[in-house]
Symmetry: C2
């Protein structure tokens, strides 16, 4: 799942990318990214539901409610520009106007995002100073640089791509994301930018985005914290030349599925790269009365620190799983619950099967599935998470200092 | 706060206690406790709200709904007797009948509790075999032995006592508790037994218990898991000889406060002894529109893994605190929020004050207070929690194996 040479060659017609160091991070690593479209791209976006929102998120929500197009997105890592008061809003505006000036486009077509530590003023002068260099670095082949520049504690850049035929043409949907900590529905602490050359109307793009996010990023749990900066943006610049897709177009459903695939793929990478995580855990809840019941049970399991530490310890402790199921608030029946680790049945109708030692071996894998059958209906939901390790504590005990 | 010699001498007139090893724990440590009252004691109790309940909890809920008196409580640690099906119910009944037989009282006056690993059948034969020895060990001065025998991953026994004058007599309220992991409202993974010689009617005792629990155990967060076994029981045997207190008695309010103090004291010990914890954290939320808003914000902060790891890392990262506040669902206003660590103001009206280095020193203390002023009303609530450390992961990654 780590970025391959193949991924670093991904291009999306009509888009350019850049990622450089603006000296925001002490480490000297890349911390400033730019996404640029040759023409105004139809843009749909989703943001954190946290009441405390970072300055660029406040701006983007307000500006995207009026302007449905975008030509450039500038993103910095290393500083969240959150809880920075009026000075923070000014700094975010400054990022936008300076980028617009350098690109010679109107500021209304530029969006900004930030990620990193909360509560420190953005070093906007460093960003301003780096913008000319950032723009000079724009290239259709630099998606991987942009993916690296938005990373915080991520250990690898996250890139996913899907090609699909629209009539007799082949369109591309490709995206980058960053995750790692503060990953809790709804919306992880994550930034995600998806670009496509396929023309889609704003209404259809917005609808496809919401549907895909509900099944991917909103079913992703790393820890139980929700960020102030979460942003998912999809830009469609229509370079493919197709008639813009609407919800009624024959190719729309295919587009929706492909967008969902890209977002689910990025979600899996975020779970796998959860801070300190050693394992990707897919929690599959079936036999629920409603999908929302299934999702609640799945999220409760994914949020359980005891389940997550047991998985890390290669301990198939299904007692912790059933305790989490019971505390979800869903009206479950203990005597109906089956629990599996991959294909091994750990509990049958609420009672242990004694197959722990067989199951323990599975927990050496890099990726495991916990399946819960509530045997009370025919609805299901998948939730993505990871294990919880000492490394998570180490990373987070010393992040800001 | 560790048990002193003073605490080990606590007695409550008319009550006897015992704590021995029945060989349930591999370690050979004490794992079987008995609380005994010379006469039937008025008994009020609260249990886990988890849908999945351990066998003894199911039994106790059903039996205490018919029988408001109790003379003995037998408690084992090392095995939760949860998710053990019909065999588990039989085992719990067996614990009760064997205890009743040995004490020569009716089984209806005996209650049982269990704590430990979920999903393994209770080694009830070991318990049966140990009961005669357990009863022989009964002594008014053995409260500390009982407190030790109910421990799982606790590092010290938890005992609290309060004396109060009822007319011209001095009554006692004393309790023991165990906590450590799976501590999440409502009701921690905890067992708590409180004995008093003060006579109280069942209705008044039940009401005082609910009120005290709402302000103590239900505002206590160690991790985000809710146990299948949580139990709080209060036994009032009336040995003091006072007229049973009702909600209208002149001394009732004093009793209620003293019971609340004992339960809050035990809650603090549970937080301090949270698995792997190095610090007790008291989260005080004030300036809320309603007490329930204040409690929600306090619990959100107390549940935040990022806040808890930052405190462990002596990092006064108030950005994580404000992010947790914003995700509580309470309609807070960023520009009104003040955040303090002890008396040091870290954020004023939502913006940092730059006093992190002064605050970092405070985090070397064994006990710290986070105060949040929402400046939106005059309601407040306190929530108790602890920091999150590598040790928590180590303890829980290898608990059942």
């Amino acid at each position: 799942m780590k970025p391959s040479a193949r991924k670093s060659r991904i291009t999306i017609p009509g888009f350019g990318f850049a990622g450089i160091s603006a000296d925001i991070k002490d480490s000297g690593e890349k911390d400033l990214a730019l996404i640029y479209s040759d023409v105004p791209a139809v843009t749909a976006a989703l943001f954190t539901t946290n009441r405390i929102k970072a300055a660029p998120v406040k701006l983007a929500i307000s500006r995207l409610s009026r302007q449905k197009h975008c030509r450039a997105v500038i993103i910095n890592s290393g500083n969240a520009n959150a809880c920075t008061g009026k000075q923070g809003i000014k700094a975010a505006r400054r990022m936008i106007t300076e980028t617009a000036k350098e690109l010679n486009i109107i500021p209304g077509l530029v969006q900004a995002s930030s990620t990193g530590i909360i509560g420190r003023q953005l070093p906007v002068k460093k960003i301003e100073k780096a913008i000319p260099d950032l723009v000079r670095n724009l290239s259709p082949r630099s998606l991987a640089n942009a993916a690296s520049a938005i990373m915080t504690t991520d250990t690898f850049p996250k890139i996913s791509q899907k090609k699909l035929s629209i009539g007799n043409k082949t369109g591309t949907i490709a995206g980058i994301a960053k995750g790692s900590g503060m990953i809790c529905p709804n919306m992880a602490t994550m930034l995600c930018y998806i670009c496509t050359d396929i023309a889609v109307t704003h209404k259809a793009l917005d609808s496809a985005l919401r549907k895909a996010a509900a099944l991917s990023f909103n079913r992703l749990v790393v820890d139980n914290d929700m960020s102030t900066n979460d942003t998912v943006m999809v830009l469609s610049n229509g370079s493919l030349g197709n008639t813009p897709l609407t919800a009624r177009s024959s190719h729309y459903r295919k587009f929706e599925i492909a967008l969902g695939d890209v977002m689910y793929d990025l979600s899996r990478m975020i779970a796998l790269d959860g801070e300190g995580a050693t394992k990707l855990v897919e929690v599959i809840v079936r036999g629920a009365r409603t999908e929302s019941d299934a999702e609640r049970v799945g999220k409760m399991i994914s949020n359980s620190m005891l389940v997550k530490t047991a998985i890390y310890g290669k301990d198939p402790n299904w007692g912790r799983i059933i305790a989490a199921i019971g505390s979800s608030g869903v009206n479950v029946r203990e005597e109906k619950i089956d629990i599996y680790l991959n294909r091994i049945k750990l509990a049958s109708r609420g009672v242990g099967t004694g197959r722990e030692s067989a199951a323990a071996n599975i927990l050496s894998n890099k990726s495991v599935a916990i399946t819960v059958d509530l045997n009370s209906g025919n609805r299901s939901a998948n939730v993505l998470t990871c294990d919880l390790t000492e490394e998570y504590i180490k990373i987070n005990a010393h992040y800001s200092t």
